[in-house]
Amino acid sequence: MYPALRRMFTNPVGIVSGAVVLLLALAAVAGPTLYPVDPFALSVEVNAAPSWLHPLGTDDLGRDVLAGMIEGAKISLFVGISAALATTVIGVLVGAVAGYVGGRVDAALMRLSEFFQVMPTFILAVLIVSLIGPGLTRVIIVIAVLSWPQTARVARGEIMRVSQLDYVDAARCMGIPGWRILYGEVIPNAIAPALALASLIMAQAILLEASLSFLGLASPDIISWGRILSVAQQYLFTAWWLSVFSGMAIFITVLAFNLLGDALADALNPRHAH
């Protein structure tokens, strides 16, 4: 793992994207202390342009956009991390079973994942969320249920490769039960590509949540970047600040996680190890 980290931090893309992600986390955690403005506080100054009082202006209900952006960073990171975590757990489990057991189980699970991959994810997500109602947890579950196949496929390939290595045979000869070999030997050595993919899934999850919120599928009691953009849509002719900043935030965040995923994949690639 350490050489991988070293490779990661000699790669300029890795450094920059990692720094952006750190900054974002900092904004989400320390933002409310550094800029102690209530993102939900209404005021009569509706759609006010950026000024000293409101550095990024206010929205249609007079709420401070900068405070909203900080709140949005929290929401986006929360959704991204939870969805990626859930997706990776489901994906690795399914992939591990498919790759390790093989045979009919493998064929059935791969067919199932193919089925999920064919469905237009975004439209299905919109349909499900409109049916069950909005809510962060629900959105996270929907994202996880719809994105696990990518992870499962990657994990399966890697598990198949690792389980053919000599040391796994050695473990089997020592009489260690199959499931212990799987979680003790195979999964730890096969998980790297799934971790790199997790960063890309975070990017997808953040984008998906933003798109859902943009279409009005967010609960009314949260402020997120996509929601600000949804409000912005009605004021494109008058309040440019509503759209510019929150969209830029989504763009930079998603780009950072995408680049980080690429850099991680490069750094964790075993072929670079020698």
Binding site: M119, L124, A232, G247, V254, L255
Partner: protein, 326 residues
């Protein structure tokens, strides 16, 4: 080949069937009794409720309901839009045509430009142009398409006033003939630019990788050894083979581009599927939403099927390899 087509066709039918079942299950997980939605929250006689439950087959068992649903879908009956006061299928199909007016030029443009860019980039591997293009395609994949659309509206419609911000035609003008066409074209520029960028990102990425891969193949070395010029090598040998993954990525990403179109339409008030989709979200018009999902998913399966066949036609290795289960 015939076996291959039959195999893919069978699998496509299975998937479509699965999608219909998923759709059925989804509409059944809605909390609450559907009859409440139908009669409203008024006190009505129990006999009336029973009548409605019977009319809609709600008094039957779940498998029986699924059976009726399947029969209806097979007959092209996707339900009734209570908001639009008409059947779902014709409603969606009319809007789908309008979406295609937007999608087809964008996809064609993105494919052509994407391949041209990739050819240029691959010939100068490691150059700064290459790095720039890679960054550009990553940026294209990360930008929220609806935000890009908003930026375009604010710049070209609001600030500069060059192009119309919304709609498909000028409502007040009543153009006909050529004038109508030109007016449509003016409205098409911004949204199709948006979708083109959205799509270009994937095409460039795949085309560049596959060009680079092909450049290192033995047959390219042979072609060079024969004394062909660099242009001949690239166009006749590399590009031809590198196009195969590009075709597949275009085909397999149909659903993705539909998503892009839906989100773009929302910003530009383009009267296609996207507009219908969003208004159905607001009015909670579930039959339309699930109809759009069903149709979109079926279109994706069809696009995948066609791509599978095309892929096998241009690359004989595929149809041989897939005879055995992978």
């Amino acid at each position: 080949m015939r076996y291959y087509i039959a195999q893919r066709l069978f699998w496509s039918v299975v998937i479509v069937f699965g999608i219909v079942v998923v759709n059925f299950v989804l509409t059944r997980i809605v909390p609450g009794d559907p009859t409440t939605a139908l009669v409203g929250e008024f006190p009505v006689p129990q006999a009336y409720i029973d009548q409605i439950r019977h009319d809609f087959g709600l008094d039957q068992s779940i498998p029986a309901q699924l059976y009726y649903y399947l029969v209806h879908v097979a007959q092209g009956d996707l339900g009734f839009s209570f908001v639009g006061r008409q059947n779902v299928l014709p409603l969606i199909l009319r809007r789908a045509g309008v979406t295609l007016i937007l999608m087809l030029p964008s996809l064609t443009l993105a494919s052509i430009i994407g391949v041209l860019i990739a050819v240029r980039a691959a010939r100068r591997a490691g150059s700064s142009l290459n790095t720039f293009l890679t960054a550009l395609s990553l940026a294209g994949a990360s930008v929220p398409v609806f935000w890009l659309a908003q930026m375009l509206v604010m710049l070209f419609a609001v600030r500069l006033g060059w192009l119309p911000a919304q709609g498909m035609v000028s409502v007040r003008a009543n153009y006909t003939g050529l004038a109508y066409f030109l007016d449509l074209l003016r409205h098409l520029i911004l949204p199709s630019f948006c979708i083109t960028i959205f799509y270009l990102a994937i095409v460039v990425r795949v085309a560049r990788t596959s060009m680079l891969e092909m450049l290192h193949q033995d047959f390219v070395l042979t072609a060079r050894a024969k004394g062909l010029s660099e242009n001949q090598v690239v166009v006749r040998h590399v590009l031809r083979n590198a196009l195969i993954p590009v075709i597949t990525v275009i085909g397999y990403n149909f659903g993705y581009s539909l998503t892009g179109a839906i989100l773009t339409e929302t910003v530009f008030a383009w009267p296609g599927i996207g507009g219908l989709f969003v208004s159905s979200i607001h009015y909670q018009d579930f039959p339309v939403l699930s109809g759009i999902f069903l149709l979109a998913a079926t279109a994706v399966v069809a696009a995948n099927f066609i791509t599978d066949i095309l892929y096998a036609v241009v690359d004989p290795r595929v149809r041989v390899a897939t005879l055995k289960p992978a």
